[in-house]
Symmetry: D2
Subunit: 350 residues, 4 copies
């Protein structure tokens, strides 16, 4: 009963087999091997973007930070939601990789920036000439940090605001597959067709060991990206092991299958929570992540039986009045077992 | 007949099996899993350094840059050999990670800084008060960039110079194992017993997929290292896959066995080259890397039969007078086959 | 009738005479001249801080950024008010000088952080271990950006919060003198006696050509400050010209006299605005700066007669309904003439 | 008898008078005043460059670092002479302002890079693809750090090498005027007509209080320069005081008159040293700076009588055998008195 994060699960067997298969004989380093070419091509096909630059890194923070690095000057603002991963969970990586750009925080319910708030922040940022930081890229998280999803129209509304100021947009897709599965749309529809200029296409949380593809729809950014990747120590010498993961991930819809499985488990959890009178969903879960409130007693029963997930505030105690409502985060991944879901639900019900 | 680099070979089966084994069930992320603890403990034991901080990253450049990051202020000099990897092959990663420290280049034959040259450079660096950059750490590459090895006495002589100025020392051990195998010494003897304060202990080039351990003998640097690692996007969420590699690598002397195999193949190549009248070794190879000169005709025969290795200057042509001497680099790894070695030798001999 | 800013006025004659006097014969460079020693001593005496390190720079942004540079790690948060100069008006200088620290914005009415909001932000910042940025210094602006002043108790309340988390505090005193004049307190009372660790003591806006003293009550930060100052190109070779200004400024209470004059003119403006029924003060002006609302017609009469000051939003038009209320900022400096004040008041009254 | 540096002397009376004159009434800040426009125009006329962007800063290190900042990416090499001020005397400011570019040191006698050495270094820098730093700008110091001057042909030979690789060139003209006076050429001839793209045109060492003009012959770099200047805290609010200095400096050939005076005194010193049998000029002095060797006894006589200048190595003792040759640096400025020159010569002669 592990619902702590989608990075606690194993890699999918097909991914692991691909890595093992790749471990045969010699291969040229630094992406100059056959698998690396195949993986990039496959990602381009997936995104229907034959001219896009596709580069692999091993962590989501690297994907985001390097993408923002080629999109933002040091003296620029980067616009993101107040609770975005780039703001809250990367120890200042965007500031490091951009040499000091300023993350400018946009409000919006359910983890989603509103176009109005974004437009206001951009307008405010640009009104001081040389004295203020300049307008830079907008970065959108999809699935959001609170488990919701922007609709395609909502994404388009944000990119329209950005474009109206001449700004570029990035999509942090650590849970990109879960969003596609939720919206029933294609990668192209969720990105360049909706006005997105660059994507961090996540694999790690959804069945890989550690690989993310950065897709730059403007290939002119490719060389600078490669220099920044090397300089940031994110260019793998034995690049085939990244490539093998990504290639397996995007082959035969594996990425979508794993996301659908995770989302299905999450939907089961959400349905159950909706049916528990004392429970409350804090947001409408779209993919594989739920924020909810449950009585302490329910948490206690589940956790004492082995369920693992985070309570908020961190380190909230299980000791205390049983009826107190305590917030929690629940995340499912591709490997999540229906019987574990059923069991935790039973435990909550008491 | 692949002698282009020690990053072209596969991971050792024991390492790959360990990764596959690690891919079972759930594990807490970011190094909070059992394997990660075991791996760090095993490295501490290997180095006879029970108090050392041990942290894993996936690339050698990350290991070096993060280690230098916790040792050098932005306004410091970092002293290294003129041809050090940190100077020549990392696209300025040390400058990026240190926020602009100045690599100060030390001369010395055979890729080895001399204590005299080092002392001179340090003394010169410190003589301008606030106007010049300040004295920072010394970083030593072992096996050197030209395939030689510092003796333990030579390492000690350099660290003595550093200590006499109150400076810290780092050892870039991308080929650490090859050096230990060559010198017949222990990791402790080659590092803290010889005055080294921090080590990049390489696994990638010697049988792993991609893992390096940074060993900080001063554990007080540990927390800053961890912050810098996260901020540089080098903290893996599914950390078990780094840990599994490193644990397998240091178990049952695998690291040493793979290095010995690579060194043995290299020694065979070197012996053959010494016996070819037209050939010349440019340095005395200690580990798994040779720089040599051979007639163009010898290179042509070998390469047309499928041998792969680099010529210098890069992209030297195989067309031209057969007797012209052309420099080359030859690198062996654990997987290098004796028959391939024998065959390339035969081809050179003509 | 110039009320656009306190950086539009001339230097006080005593300051200019001191600079002219300093321009005699030779003087050792980089602060090694007699005047520089005298100026630092005088500032130390003014602050009753015999052990403080005192360093001069030519701009307020340099003072703030260098002070924050020695107080914040690159991976730290710097806590400041949402409208602080360091956030809004320095084109990201704090991010540049700190190599990427994150300005974390605190709310509070009238330009003043509340202790509660500060405590909440600090607590939130520290709850993610290595994943989030770490807790760094708090910087307080006095006179605030909206012209109000923290009382000594309010400053103490903020520094108490900071200290309770083990954090350092900086005071951005671009209008330090105006605040002292307003509160009737000593520099020591407004700084170290209230828990402040470092101050940017402004001269430029209050009668100097361009000089600010950074006062570090912890002299252990002095050497790093000096290295950062040189590295940021803010160490003057002909340092005597900075020193002469600062020495004249703190001699015979000149700094206080000029601030009192500016504050007096500002009080006259405020009293008049309070008496105009259509006008409204947006904040209670403590020093030499007013934010107010006046009918467009009043602005038009004043500006067409030559009054200069900023309207908000920037470039608000004077064309339109005369009764519309339009916000404005009014700043006085030491050189502001009572007759100009009287005249603009008459013009507003119509 | 002050020969320690050209930053020990006072500002020229005409410059000081201009500053005093500028201290009258109100002036818009941040360069939006009349004097600032006049100063920029005057510099453009002086350089016969009507389209050039001209920006003022207060220190030479700021001028150099900001100019390099707009010319070099963080992952670039900056090519300079081994003893260049940017390498030796700025505490890593170029690395700070460029976010980590790598200064690549070029050899050459008499402080002058040779075209051959420059071409070799550039070629070497570019031969490693993404692994090495990339080719960036070349910066040339004129008057060099050892007091010599490049001829116009020598400058052209270096810029030709740079252009052949598609690289930009910067001229560090802290002693620009002394070089023009020495070569008898115009500013245009020494810069854009010789292939230079950007200049630090120094005023501080040659009669100003503290002002340098950065002249960018490519005005497209202007906006980024202004952002970097603000972000680095080098945009003066009371900009008129920088402008007044620069305007006076370039009016009626004052810059050239002061340089000629300094050069004349230097020539007198050089002629005398050539006539002293025990003395030796280490380089052929072109402007206002001499490196020479004299017996300890000569130094002792001069210094005990009050002469001030630096010995090398720093803090060489005046105690010891009188005949030992000890190196020294002698610098003259516009205010240097012929009788002081005559007297130190007499003292050396003994």
């Amino acid at each position: 009963m592990m619902f702590a994060s989608d990075n606690t699960g194993p890699a999918h067997p097909k991914v692991m087999e691909a890595v093992t298969r790749a471990n045969d004989g010699y291969a040229m380093p630094y992406g100059n091997d056959a698998l690396s070419g195949l993986a990039a091509d496959a990602v381009r096909r997936l995104f229907e973007a034959p001219d896009a630059a596709v580069h692999l890194v091993a962590t989501g923070t690297a994907a985001n930070s390097l993408a923002l690095g080629v999109m933002a000057n040091p003296w620029d603002a980067v616009f993101c939601h107040r609770v975005a991963h780039v703001e809250e969970d990367e120890c200042g990586a965007p500031e490091f990789f951009t040499n000091g750009a300023k993350l400018t925080l946009i409000d919006g319910a359910d983890g989603k920036m509103t176009p109005e708030a974004l437009a206001r922040a951009i307008a405010h940022t640009g009104d001081k000439g040389v004295h203020g930081v300049q307008r830079g890229p907008v970065t959108i998280t999809q699935i959001t940090e609170v488990g919701t999803a922007y609709t395609l129209e909502e994404i388009r509304a944000l990119t329209d605001v950005a474009k109206s100021f001449g700004l570029k947009t990035h999509l942090d897709g650590a849970r990109f597959a879960n969003a596609c599965a939720a919206l029933g749309c294609t990668p192209a529809e969720m990105t360049w067709k909706a006005g997105i200029d660059a994507v961090s296409f996540g694999g790690t949380k959804n069945g890989c060991l550690g690989v993310e593809a950065v897709v730059l729809f403007d290939p002119e950014l490719s060389w600078e990206f490669q220099l920044r990747r090397k300089r940031a120590a994110h260019l793998w010498s034995k690049h085939r092991y990244l490539a093998a993961q990504m290639l397996a991930y995007v082959t035969d819809d594996l990425w979508l299958d794993t996301a659908r499985a995770a989302n299905a488990r999450c939907a089961e959890l959400a349905a159950a929570l909706r049916a528990i009178p004392e429970a409350r969903l804090l947001h409408d879960p779209a993919g594989n992540m739920i924020f909810a409130e449950l009585p302490r007693g329910a948490h206690k029963r589940a956790m004492e039986a082995g369920a693992q997930y985070y309570l908020f505030p961190f380190q909230s105690s299980l000791e205390g009045p049983e009826d107190d409502l305590i917030r929690c985060r629940l995340v499912t991944d591709w490997s999540c077992k229906p019987e574990d879901v059923a069991r935790v639900i039973d435990l909550w019900r008491g």
